[in-house]
């Protein structure tokens, strides 16, 4: 429906970027670029967001939070990686505490290059994301990249046994399991 694309709400998460892109995203919300004229509000709440705007190359400590936030956003949703480091890791590629880009963990729909991305480019990227978002529906559930393999195995097993399949629940359980097994956040000080 055409009305739907006029109201995308964004959630912004910084997984270890240099603040440059975050500042530019905020500048986009300012009067000069004014994202609100496209109906876009910055809702700092994943449960009410549609577009997940991620910046930064994903450091090791932000991984679990990134996955959690992604899981909390209800479908249909799109992910926009803003800035060079969110796309590929950029200047931080292959550093020891960095995971080289958002798409190692969650499926990314739009990559916005630039270091830092210009507000104009961010606007263009978000418009592109809205085009992709338009096609998606409530039922189009995407699987985080890290658990793709396990998900397919579990799904085929369940289908084999003739169980009823709730894809969302399976993904949720698998992500929780993955976070628990691999990414347990240390509590410091």
């Amino acid at each position: 429906m055409s009305a739907k694309i006029k109201s995308p709400w964004i959630l912004h998460y910084n997984c270890g970027s240099c603040n440059g892109c975050d500042v530019e995203i905020l500048a986009c919300l300012g009067p000069k670029y004014d994202l609100e004229r496209f109906g876009i509000i910055n809702k700092g709440n994943p449960k009410q967001a549609d577009i997940f705007v991620v910046t930064g190359p994903v450091t090791k400590r932000t991984r679990a939070r990134l996955l959690r936030l992604y899981m909390q956003i209800p479908e249909p949703k799109v992910v926009v990686a803003v800035g060079t480091c969110a796309c590929t890791g950029g200047p931080f590629r292959n550093m020891y505490n960095v995971e080289n880009g958002v798409d190692r963990f969650i499926p990314v729909d739009v990559y916005i290059p630039g270091c830092t991305a210009r507000p104009e480019a961010i606007l263009k990227g978000i418009k592109k994301a809205i085009e992709i978002w338009k096609i998606k529906t409530k039922e189009s559930i995407e699987v985080p990249v890290v658990i793709q393999k396990e998900f397919e195995e579990t799904l085929s097993k369940m289908v084999l046994h003739g169980q009823t399949v709730d894809r969302r629940k399976i993904i949720h359980d698998l992500v929780n399991k993955y976070i628990k097994n691999n990414l347990e956040v240390t509590k410091c000080d």
Binding site: S7, Q48, P74, K138
Partner: protein
């Protein structure tokens, strides 16, 4: 005119949506930006229906729906019922649904928002009741229909009550300086934080109805002169938006102090003088 109030009550979500949309445009323009289109609330509405709703638990979601229907019913009771006090008490009930819903989840922001919502209630409701009492003293009736057919101008008798009411409107509509229960920058929406999809939309729409509720009360202050009422509502609307745009958020101590020690005595004084004048002298 006969079915006017009933029509407003039934169509209140749509009217409120337009008021909210208009407010967003005005707010944006006051901030020197272009702002969203006028129909933006309805676009949001359609989108939220199409979103998947993630429920925390069914009771919580039910409370969201209950809040919406109770608010709607409140407005209907207020406008069409025999007694505006019933409407005001139902208003408390409607907010109680929101508060209970907020308390029923584990999120600290939601719980904190609900606590703050109670403080809001404590500040707002006494003044609302004083408004009703004041209107009764002037017009001699508790019913909206009778107040609206009163030939004089109630605002001339109730200037301080009106000022108190206008200054507490930000607390009802959760606008700066008294948006502490929603406090987007502190607790990200407060009690509504855990709602999503269809259930968030219910809460979102209930807020529009509150706009109609508030401006209906403003409207009552002019009695039968409906064009004056419209002008007054527009003026109040502009004033509130400009106030929203020119203040930062107070904390809840300041709000209680302001409501109880400034606004409440102000309104009470007005009513006291009026009652003396009416019944003693």
């Amino acid at each position: 005119m006969a079915w006017m109030l009933e029509t407003i009550a039934i169509l209140s979500p749509i009217i409120g949506g337009f008021i909210y949309g208009f407010e967003r445009v005005v707010k944006a323009r006051m901030q020197n930006r272009q702002g969203p289109p006028l129909l933006q609330p309805f676009y949001d509405f359609i989108k939220l229906v199409e979103k998947r709703a993630i429920q925390v638990h069914s009771f919580h979601s039910m409370m969201g729906l209950a809040f919406f229907f109770a608010t709607w019913f409140t407005l209907a009771a207020f406008l069409c019922g025999p007694n505006i006090l019933v409407g005001l008490f139902l208003h408390i009930l409607a907010l109680a649904f929101l508060i209970i819903g907020g308390f029923s989840v584990l999120s600290p922001y939601s719980v904190m928002g609900s606590l703050r919502e109670i403080i809001h209630l404590m500040c707002v409701e006494p003044i609302l009741i004083l408004v009703a009492v004041g209107l009764f003293l002037v017009t001699g009736s508790w019913s909206v229909r009778d107040i609206l057919s009163y030939s004089g101008l109630p605002i001339l008798y109730l200037p301080l009550v009106f000022i108190a009411f206008v200054l507490i409107i930000p607390a009802i509509l959760k606008k700066s300086p008294f948006d502490i229960s929603e406090a987007h920058q502190e607790i990200i929406g407060g009690p509504e934080i855990e709602y999503s999809g269809f259930f968030y939309e219910a809460i979102y729409t209930a807020k529009w109805i509150e706009y109609v509720f508030v401006f209906a009360i403003v409207f009552l202050f002019t009695g039968v002169h409906w064009w004056l009422g419209l002008a007054l509502s527009l003026l109040v609307f502009l004033f509130i938006n400009a106030l929203d745009n020119s203040t930062c958020r107070a904390n809840f101590h300041q709000m209680i102090k302001f409501a109880w020690f400034v606004l409440l005595p102000l309104a009470a004084l007005n009513i006291f003088v009026l009652a003396l004048w009416r019944y003693v002298i």
